[in-house]
Symmetry: D3
């Protein structure tokens, strides 16, 4: 019998039960204060992923040799953050309960909170590694206790001091930087020029459960213009690739990639880079 | 002493106290389920308004001869509809209390609810005239009791049966149409081809307090492509102009214009049309 | 068990066996001489179709009440027209053999030939109704016997004189017009202003097997800018809608819609119109 | 011997000496106060003209059957209006002296002044027909005696009262409208709905030397978004076509087409329309 | 009493009298020979500046702690360079006379001449540091003695030999390079790779009055695509940042930033970079 | 007598007979499987080339001092690869027979095969140097023996083992990489960081006839977004420039530059870079 049109990320068309990693999209951008559009990221990435290969010459590995499931996008309520976060948390919990790794494609960075809640429930000793241009540590933003600008602060509410490691940060209010100094481990600016800090952190976290959240605006806008708040002075794809290879030595129990906003990059280079990166990460964490 | 940079809609740079009409922007689009972007409308309109004249050859009137104040945009909380609506309501109330007419520039259509709440408080016998392509009558949408797709339903909760008059509607779920038949006065499709219905409604509402909400997607997408949900088969600028001239015979106590999303119209024709329309409406209601 | 991500046109997610109409995409544009891009039409339409409703207030009918299957896009060979056409023909034949109506979404207009070949095999008395801005009657084009500019000439090779009825034509070489006068029934320019010709043709073709090919550039570029060769002076959506309602009285045994090129319409109005039209046609021919 | 790459408007590749009409581009937009870009019009039109046919089904005539020369673009000084106008005037004079009709492609509307000066020198009884959305009658603009907003006023300085006939005007300052009432013949708004005025003017000007200046923004922005100052409420291509057919009964001794700004129309429909219009005008005036 | 809408660069909303630095926009691009659009830079930068923070983690300083006034844009005559330059000179003089530093936002590079004239009047021993991709040393250009391509040559006319220091230059006619060798200090190509030259120049100019003109096309087009004449092989934001830090050791008595053309960068990365750079420069020169 | 409009790449307007290098465009992209558009490259490059100078400060050489002819674009059959390739081969042969060097501007990479066939006929000991992001070594692609994805494989069919040298490759199927290892010399990833390999290859090929094919997607998408399949991790303009300088020491008997797709780069930086590169290559190989 003929099948309805299946639409997954390239090479991620395995059945759920047999898969080790489960991709899902969280197309939510309602709290974005500046330029929305990340809601389209996961859908556009599925389309454009057919412009890349499943084989990685960097790793000499092929997506075809691993079991990955792509269940599509959650249908999230726009304008109601609590509802949306709950739906994300439920999805991540369900995947974790089935013994699989959830890999969420945002959406704005705030979606991370839903997934972290689910992962933290299962792994109370959770550590978080964040690649980002922005601290995301506001206590509240425009009268809103929860938003894309406060998502890591809300994660800190849960996991507490010295559990969150930030890299690539080059923007934030003075109060956020002060907070970071006291409660987090934050590496400023283009950490890609020197991996010492990252190496130490990876050494320290060996064996511990780690959630990896990748805000793609950690990249330099020259390589990744398709994002809501481009911030000059970022890292390159090659540096990011190397950093993620390093991180993949850890026990990644959940992860996400967020803040691609395809509408702001008519050339498609940002989406193409995100697709390539998704392939590389999937292959790095597939053992 | 030098003044800081003032940035108003062309010809609307009067002082607040002396003005009869008060313009304010409500740059909110957090509940938009499909394509966001209306948050940029009021700001872009101020920029582009300097491409039109203050003089209308249609009415032989000039904005320079009337007193209109533009206070800029409200700073609204993204991702928290209730907070945003409250701020809008407060602004509209404050303007009404000063004996002036509030003219709100959206933002998505949901912002109308905030203004209508304020106007309804002052005028309990309020009637609403809505120009729109969509019914906006859902009871809830994606688990959200309040949203751009349900804004008129929420207005109906307040004003009740036979108080709302819809024109130009050409899209909606079956349940919305059924609801409309029972509780509202709804004119389907391109009412611009025949103004009989509008004439009758205007006749009937003479002397009563009327709120006019103009969803710009009532226009045909050929003339107004810059909107989140373009819906073929709409009315022309000329037809809309004539319809608004008719409506301006009524006692308009508050009004808004919404759903311009400049980012979807690279040519700028939509913003230019919205600016021209804003001028024409301001002149129509200025006696 | 969880399902992989299904991606169909809105309201067309029925199973194949139970369906009466079968949609498939033919993303092919290799012979396009001017501006390619129609290959993206079917995929973009699936995405954007979720911006419209399944309910039609025009017909008071709902896609949810009918059985339609969307099998996705064929994987066609770029740069080899013969191979591509053969694959299209095979798909259409298979659908016809199962007693269903094939509804193809192009792609450039040349894809029609593959479908017509399949339909002609089953219905030797086939008639063709073509809505188009261009005659598409060249005998050859740039040394190529088969191309988007010659597709109807190639159909004529099969079905012969007086079987093809063209409407809306407003461009072509002198030789094509001469050919049309001798061998086809061609209505020039904006036929939407006067339906007499169409009425007569429909009367004449009652009961006969008809293939309907809709080149969307028959529409005026103001309403449908997203096409490779926009040709001023076309018909409106409302006129086209009325014309298709008329045609749906006939025995439509196969049909297609082609030449949407989403990349040339950043506003998305063309894709939105195509989606709405697809819904309307599906509802018109669903009895 | 091989020829260097020749790049002309389609069907206009005749030799100068044998030609009756001479096309030249005037890529100048330095005085444009709002959105520049018309400098690219002539060059883009040459490229895109190969998307249309040389044959007109409207007139049953073919560019191939007439002698038209396209000499390319003048190299004009940006930022020095006087120099630019002088170069334009020289070019037009040289063409007129060779007994040919100059057809200039702007550029902003101000370029008209250069051509009119040349034509007026040869034909002191010159009349001007202007299709435009804007009066262009300012006495000065931003301290500049000459600009795109004052071009017709400067023409009036030369030809005097009752020699200029404006159609389609729907924007201007009050002072411009007052001036128009006294010194020109001005038809407001969408004259395409009623050709009475035009018919009368054509009747009156029979046999007299006429310069025809076509500001393409006379068209509705829905059909022609690619212009610096889109003004809603314009005429359609079909109406414009009919009007130009009428005008071609006159003794056209020079003409221009201006204000296409291709960069503001990503779809290309405006350029395509301008090309089609150029073909139609060339065929209308070729006897 | 309510204030009209104020629209300044973020963190620059102080009163004029109390401010040390005065920002003004010079939206002029009439002599641009290739692709215009820089006229929109200052206005778009004000809008987009609200996407960055007032706090700089690079310098640990905050705009909120300094006094900067933004008076908006000058209203300049398009098409009349002399008038425009005079208005710029007047503005700069008035600011200098009040003992403040003028910081001009272009506009095309030619606007620099107006400001330099004012500064030179006050500081006859003026030195100029120019960061740029192009020499801008033509003696005349398209018959125009003054233009964006000759602006530094015109500055040299005033300040004379060995007063102008160019960095980052990678384009120009042979004659310009010859002139540079004789009369200026010119550092070719990507000087960001090696700051030796810059260090020496800064050492030499210590204590002298310096005007700093920053043509943003000195940046690589990968980081700054939004400019009229992108020139491959430029410097990075990080290199530019470091260079400006160095320069801020000098006695900067006036400065400008020019050649951002937002329309050519749909992603907004160029405008975002320009805003961040403006913040950094303001903080560097605020003691 | 006046000349028709000549349109060549800047500084390449010499007569054919006196020229040493002959440029021609091959606007063909029919086998492109992902995003077409390279057909517009040569035409857009001619337009935009007037934004650069003829003088190179890198080489202190000027195009004006050399004899180069630009014959425009071939008129190629879309949708028929064999015909198109034959036309390309004929053109290249004719140029070679006249003792000149053919320099082809693509088009998609497949056009290389036509030129290589012609060059191989004259130089049976031909070696090929390929700069590219992709291997282009598929044996067939979507049932097509010849395509952009197999072009180098088809070249290998002709020239055989150890004659093809690939640089910059970072994408391909596993089977292609396996093939490359056996039959070609392939340098992975960003070879620009280390020229050792290139130096050795150039040393080895001294004196031998070499065809140089430059797929511009070898560049990093940050500097060159305007291409169909952007692939992160590429080389910079500066690295590419240095590499080509090295290669120009060889006996280049034919060359091409391909895969610029201007439509995907609204900023024009890609086209500007391609123009600058074309100038530099022309000057490098002009002795």
């Amino acid at each position: 019998m003929r099948k309805q049109n299946i639409h997954t990320f390239i090479g991620c068309d395995n059945e759920y039960d047999e898969s080790d990693i489960v991709i899902f999209g969280a197309p939510f951008d309602s709290t974005t204060s500046f330029r929305p559009g990340t809601r389209f990221a996961s859908s556009v990435m599925r389309n454009e992923s057919f412009g890349i290969e499943t084989y990685s010459p960097y790793q000499d590995k092929d997506l075809e040799d691993y079991k990955i499931f792509d269940g599509g996008d959650l249908e999230l309520s726009f304008g109601n953050s609590n509802l949306a976060l709950q739906d994300i948390q439920d999805e991540a919990e369900s995947i974790l309960n089935d013994g699989k790794i959830p890999f969420m494609i945002g959406g704005e960075h705030s979606v991370t909170l839903g997934a972290v809640k689910a992962v933290f429930k299962k792994y109370p000793d959770l550590h978080i590694i964040q690649f980002d241009a922005h601290t995301d540590l506001r206590d509240e933003y425009l009268g809103q206790y929860f938003s894309h600008a406060s998502v890591i602060r809300r994660c800190w509410d849960m996991v507490g001091d010295n559990k969150i490691f930030q890299f690539g940060i080059r923007s934030g209010e003075r109060a956020e930087w002060d907070f970071a100094k006291k409660h987090l481990h934050t590496t400023k600016f283009n950490f890609g020029k020197n991996f010492d800090e990252l190496d130490k952190v990876v050494e320290k976290l060996k064996g511990k459960p780690v959630y990896f959240t990748l805000d793609l605006d950690v990249l330099d806008p020259s390589e990744f213009p398709g994002t809501g708040t481009p911030e000059a002075g970022g890292i390159t794809f090659t540096e990011l690739h190397k950093a993620i290879e390093k991180i993949s030595e850890l026990n990644i129990v959940g992860l996400d990639m967020n803040e691609l906003s395809p509408i702001y990059d008519q050339s498609g280079q940002s989406t193409a880079l995100a697709c390539k990166l998704l392939r590389e990460i999937l292959l790095f964490i597939s053992k």
